[in-house]
Amino acid sequence: MSFPWAEQYTPKNPLTQWIDEKLPLPRLVYNAVGAGYPVPRNLNYFWNFGVLAGLALVIQIVTGVIMAMHYGANDLVAFTTVEQTMRDVNAGWLMRYAHANGASFFFIVVYLHIFRGLYFGSYKAPREMVWLLGLVIFLLMMATAFMGYVLPWGQMSYWGAKVITGLFGAIPVVGEPIQTWLLGGFAPGNASLNRFFSLHFLLPFVIAGVIILHIWALHIPGSNNPTGVEVKGPQDTVPFHPYYTAKDGFGAGIFLIAFSILLFFAPNFLGHPDNYIEANPLSTPAHIVPEWYFWPFYAILRAFTVDFLFIPAKLLGVLAMFASILLLFFLPWLDTSPVRSGKYRPTFNKFFWILCLDVVILGWLGGAPAEEPYVMMSQVAAAYYFAHFLIILPLISRFEKPLPLPGSITEAVLAKYGKTDGATVAVPAE
């Protein structure tokens, strides 16, 4: 695999040797997330979120499969079966709340994971493929989450389905046939509910498959690290197990505590009350809002209020919303600075934090009602979002003067612990 000094899998007893000969699955695991994977020794807590995202997916699949055992995918009974699961099924309330809040936590850890990648330049060569596959996972997650939210068939489910499929209706000429095709009718109905259920069940397994590719692609260059400096030798790395399994175990504990606080003590905090009202095609909720994790994109969608020549504002909003995600696929080629980590990029650093604030503001505006002054604010915030990725980033990577980089990972670690003054090359201690 990645580094020549990686520890080798050497099965000791005859049974494991026999298995290794016939199907070297333990060897694969050993090399992927075991002692056979050398990882930079200086990873900080932001590197926990990849494993935590995996944990969140497992929670979602387990609770989701159970929810499906009690769910009736029919518009006449869907709401009732979810309610009966909450009331009558043993531990049903736990499964339902864990699944609903698990989706939120999945997005929280994935957003932090993406944030980590953006700040420390994990998307740059030679890890472009890791980044691209990660974005594919993100898109699949959004589709899965959206379809899952429709399943309880509450007011927000119904109107969310109507509004989001309506986005496709903005496409000229073919838009309306596409919307009708997506829904299997002229409005959300039993056909839509059934196909969403089917796909909502399928996509998590597709996500799991893409995660395998994501990890595979990661293992070719090996993990990035907070300095962004490449691994130079064995002194720069530690085996994944036990060093990072122990750290991830601790991270998982913190994650589960945070998850439990919300799940057991405020399970409806992130949800919308309107989804406890059964779907009613004759009455629209006062403010249709998606789940919080879509709010930044929803704000961009609604920021376009003026037609551009022959392009209607509605279509512009849809194009911009898709563009806001698709542009991330071009990121490795937009940011050409050879320095990865934002720590050593003073100009990038400032704009990066503005972007973070900007996305938080977009999120807040996406959840706010579509009235002034929120619309004006979201226009400014959305303009910065596009300007940041498409204009500012290419320009800074061209003109910025980075700070001096540490000579190696070990040198950076030693400097942190005050052993050297950090400027000269230190001889590794081990």
């Binding site: 020794r41 009732t80 309610e83 009966q84 009331r87 309330w93 736990l94 709340y97 036990p242 060093y243 122990a246 750290k247 175990g249 601790f250 998982a252 504990g253 589960l256 505590i257 439990s260 606080i261 799940l263 057991f264 003590f265 399970p267 009350p273 309107d274 406890y276 009202i277 059964e278 006062a286 920021a303 376009f304 209020t305 003026v306 551009f308 512009l316 911009a320 542009l327 071009f330 937009l334 050409t336 002034e372 619309v375 004006m376 226009q379 400014v380 959305a382 303009a383 910065y384 596009f386 300007a387 990725f389 498409l390 204009i391 290419p394 030693l414 942190k416 612990y417 052993k419 201690a429």
Partner: protein, 283 residues
């Protein structure tokens, strides 16, 4: 090449957003948005405290029983409670015989089929039945209620922001339309047949004040049935109908979090141990 294209796309989106912002800003200044009557006069729910407030609060069974009595004698004439079954009342502290008697004596009967003729008929509810609906369908409900369909109450306190306080505020919040409102919005006079209530989203509500006088129900436990007390009790009862597993959830949560705190503490110590060599080597 990618970068030139990107800058062009970026300039287009950012530029057009900026122009949209300018157009919007000009409109905002030249024609400021007119405040709506809901904006000005709608009020957030009143502050009211319940035994189940806070992360470790519990239901007060006596209060739930009183609230159930209010529901039975007042609300159930028009509102359904379709996700709750008579058997669920055991959680309020009624024993099996009492639950059976409540079901048997319920004013509304459960739809059934005449075993002899096969025609639609009704029968006395049994504990396993859900609360029967007062109206056969929405058309009947609308026809009997001046075209407004009384919503199902099972989930009402979860279907509104601050639901428990909302139900309490709505019931106790009826009042005459303020004079300033009519002065500022002369067109917003409460229409005939509706009732002004600032806690309702659009201020005018089809439901007449359900609890109009103290002593409307007679409590068995000697609690004084003021309108305020009855409103609190029924709000508590409807909180229970919406979240019957609240106490189980909080108990399980407490145990889970205590366990996780210990486990995470151990995991941290284990993590520090495993890394001790590496940190020693570095320091």
């Amino acid at each position: 090449m990618v970068r030139y294209g990107a800058i062009a796309v970026g300039l287009f989106f950012a530029g057009w957003l900026f122009i949209s912002f300018l157009i919007g800003a000009v409109a905002y200044v030249s024609e400021p948005p007119v405040p709506t009557v809901e904006h000005e006069f709608h009020e957030a729910p009143k502050h009211v405290s319940f035994s189940f407030d806070g992360p470790l609060g519990k239901y007060d069974q006596a209060q739930l029983q009183r609230g159930f009595q209010v529901f039975k004698e007042v609300c159930s004439a028009c509102h359904s409670l379709k996700f709750v079954a008579f058997r669920d009342l055991a959680a309020l502290g009624y024993n099996e015989a009492e639950v059976k008697a409540i079901a048997k004596q319920w004013a509304i009967k459960t739809p059934s089929v005449d075993p002899a003729t096969g025609e639609a008929s009704t029968r006395e509810p049994v504990p396993s039945d859900y609360f029967p609906k007062p109206f056969a369908n929405n058309v009947a409900a609308a026809a009997a209620n001046n075209n407004a369909i009384p919503p199902d109450l099972s989930l009402m306190t979860k279907a509104r922001h601050h639901g428990s306080a909302y139900v309490y505020s709505l019931i106790t919040g009826y009042q005459a339309q303020p004079a300033e409102l009519l002065k500022e919005f002369p067109d917003s006079k409460t229409p005939e047949g509706l009732h002004y209530n600032p806690y309702f989203a659009n201020l005018n509500l089809a439901m007449a004040p359900p609890l109009s006088a103290d002593g409307q129900v007679t409590y068995g436990d000697g609690t004084k049935p003021t309108v305020d007390q009855m409103a609190q009790d029924v709000a508590a009862f409807l909180t229970w109908t919406a979240e019957p597993k609240l106490e189980n959830r909080r108990r399980a949560g407490l145990a889970t979090i205590l366990f996780l705190l210990i486990a995470t503490g151990l995991a941290y110590m284990s993590y520090q141990n495993i890394w001790a060599d590496k940190k020693k080597a570095a320091a």
